[in-house]
Symmetry: C2
Subunit: 430 residues, 2 copies
């Protein structure tokens, strides 16, 4: 390749992220040329409506022919349209034309990453997707490359900024779920379909991507157990606070025996855990590896410029590989560990009960835990008389045993109501 | 290259890190083979005394001929001996023989990284050194690669675990410097020459490496302003705590105007800053970039297995490049920004004074700050009568102006003694 032939980049999508990518490419063109060893030339920007003027974008670059631009043979095709189609078809067309692909498309990767990897291998091109999880935080490159000489044991992250904003408000201001939902909506933080955020589905897509890289096992969003934050109450928050915990929506991928479990749900986390101090729209991912021990990666999980930063880091990597004649890491799913269901997870529960106020109540409740082999860590009595309440925190047990215990509790006549049940994560020991 | 020709690795050094590298390579050989696409074959281990048996190491691999093994033409030479020589000669010999090099040698990189980069470029081989800063934390790869599409504004890190252990003890247990020094010594945490830790020189070497990557500018340890923790007192700790701060030894590299400043010194950090909660022997580095915003990387900064994890990640990267025919990122010092002295840094000061208890004292002190253009943020009066004390925290100003202010304070007859002076970092605003 001639020393100074420009690296050509085609951009699919000009929303928040796409616009940032285009403007940063223009503003920092000198830096890109130095870092890559050749100038970067933006060859086109595919948009839905090429007639609409976009500030800062040369109108002659705009096209509504997504597939045409994707297949134009640029060195690097950047896909930031989102959604499954036409993104998938465009990416496959780009690879067939010999282009390396950089994408931020978590939904597509979590649904059908395998097709993209397969096409990349077939055509000898790169597939990079740092921006698909936790926006600006360099996370996937460390997992794919820095930890390539280690064995990951677990990944636990706060990977959805909107729900973390909401839970932070509920924790710090004592606000109700409905109020913080309305506030997030007013601020434009929620996806067009808000269940993607509050139902945990956005976090689940990211959990699938993280799990695949961490465990060298193909994982799709359908493999992820998902519970959202819609049932988290101000009372749960208060109870968590009283015990020295905070409630976060966590995405967990972990080895369990010879398999893995991937799950997204609200969880109580001790306030001195590094993830507990991740406030507002920030994201963070806590990784535990066999040799490296505990690590955390923290930063902005969304937004035009932060996401564009991650996209452009990948563009530089793909461009350098073009010039050096090499390739970045491809798919690495050689282990293909069995994906176990949520019942196999090992975790702890917090259980909040309204109970009858009479002798023998605690004995009957303790018995329900013991029957399922679940060991109690702490019991706290709350209130008196007709209002008697009991809060139980368990030691570690299988999620199946914990669920069965809660079912038994519901059937006890000493238990008037199961007020709240939540998993507890991030505590040391059993 | 034949599909399954083994990747050969020569290991220079079998101390704590080298032994971990060798045993992890053996234990996880299946994983390495899968991740690289070819088995890894350890061809030799260079040690000072080849006659001494080392548990877990095949005696037939041991040699005391460091340079011979270095120049043996292995695909990857791993240098974990430390020190300047014979490490430098060995690395240059390895590169001349066509080997890619993975090193954890912060001292050599901070003193003469340029020679290593130059030799790597000349011979078309890789130079990776993730383990040289912050042990297991994937940090250099994110800086070199993930942020390659962004502009770093500042890097601030806790990169020396021993001093962080000592400062954490002083903060949490109210211990004196001498006591925590003795404890660190008893635990074997201190380097053979303890001034490398407590004098800040180990942190300075890491600061130079971080600054070079962050600012695309050649930085050596001689460019770093260094102050250690030997003057930090239990009283400073108490004062910091009373103001809601904690004292950490920070390594800072930052853009200042058209240049950069690189400095290592104790600093007060607000307790709600992410770095404040980095306790004990953990390391963390806080990075601010133009597009990505704020990020933090957190994990174990030292120890055999954590450091070996970083080394082996680099071995996998170098091995993959060998197989794909590409090269990792080389030196990127195209900016070569001027390195400014500490007086040009913009920071805040905490100043603790014993003052005369008479009218006009505060006015004379306020005047000393104003004369040097330093604006006061908070003044707090402590004690009464003969024991009158005054604590001042400033707004941001040049370090030169702050130093000149302290000099003026020392000369005031209303100031009996300057009890403590420390920089304050990590506060928002001016």
């Amino acid at each position: 390749m001639a020393e100074n032939r420009p690296i050509t980049v085609a951009l699919l999508g000009a929303g928040t992220v796409g616009s940032s990518v285009a403007s940063l490419l223009a503003e920092n063109s000198e830096d890109f040329a130095q870092r890559i060893g050749a100038p970067v030339h933006l060859t086109g920007v595919a948009v839905r409506d090429a007639g609409r003027a976009r500030p800062g974008l040369d109108p002659s670059l705009l096209t509504d022919d997504v597939l045409g631009l994707a297949a134009s043979g640029a060195d690097v095709v950047v896909e930031v349209m989102g959604g499954i189609e036409p993104a998938r078809t465009a990416i496959l067309a780009a690879m067939a034309a010999g282009s390396s692909v950089v994408t931020a498309n978590k939904a597509l990767l979590a649904e059908d990453g395998a097709s993209l990897y397969r096409a990349a291998a077939e055509h000898g091109v790169d597939l990079y997707f740092e921006a698909s999880v936790a926006g600006a935080i360099p996370l996937l490159r460390p997992l794919r490359e820095s930890l390539a000489g280690d064995r990951v044991l677990s990944v636990m992250g706060i990977v959805n900024g909107t729900t973390n904003f909401m839970l932070t408000k509920m924790d710090e201001a004592g606000a109700d779920y409905d109020d913080v939902f309305a506030e997030a909506e007013a601020l434009g933080y929620l996806e067009a379909d808000p269940t993607l955020d509050v139902g945990g589905h956005d976090a689940a897509a990211k959990a699938a991507i993280l799990a695949e890289l961490a465990f060298h096992t193909r994982v799709t969003i359908d493999d992820v157990h998902v519970e959202g934050i819609t049932d988290v109450t101000a009372e749960d928050m208060r109870a968590a606070r009283a015990m020295g915990f905070v409630i976060k929506l966590v995405a967990v991928a972990e080895r369990v025996g010879e398999g893995i479990v991937v799950r997204v749900h609200p969880a109580m986390i001790p306030r001195d855990h590094p993830l507990a101090s991740v406030r507002g729209a920030f994201n963070a991912v806590f990784v535990e590896a066999e040799a490296a021990g505990e690590m955390m990666f923290y930063g902005r999980g969304a937004g035009g410029n932060p996401t564009a930063s991650a996209v452009l880091g990948d563009v530089v990597a793909a461009a350098r590989n073009r010039r050096a004649g090499g390739l970045g890491p491809g798919e690495s799913t050689y282990l293909n560990l069995p994906i176990l269901d949520i019942g196999s997870a090992h975790t702890r529960y917090y259980v909040n009960l309204d109970v009858a106020d009479r002798p023998g109540v605690l004995a009957s409740i303790a018995n329900a835990f013991a029957e399922h082999g679940v060991s109690i860590q702490v019991v706290r009595q709350d209130g008196h008389g007709a209002e008697a309440g009991l809060i139980v925190r368990t030691h570690r047990a299988s999620d199946a045993a914990l669920q069965a215990t809660v079912q038994s509790l519901r059937e006890l006549d000493t238990v008037k109501r199961v007020v709240g049940v939540m998993r507890v994560e991030g505590e040391a020991g059993d």
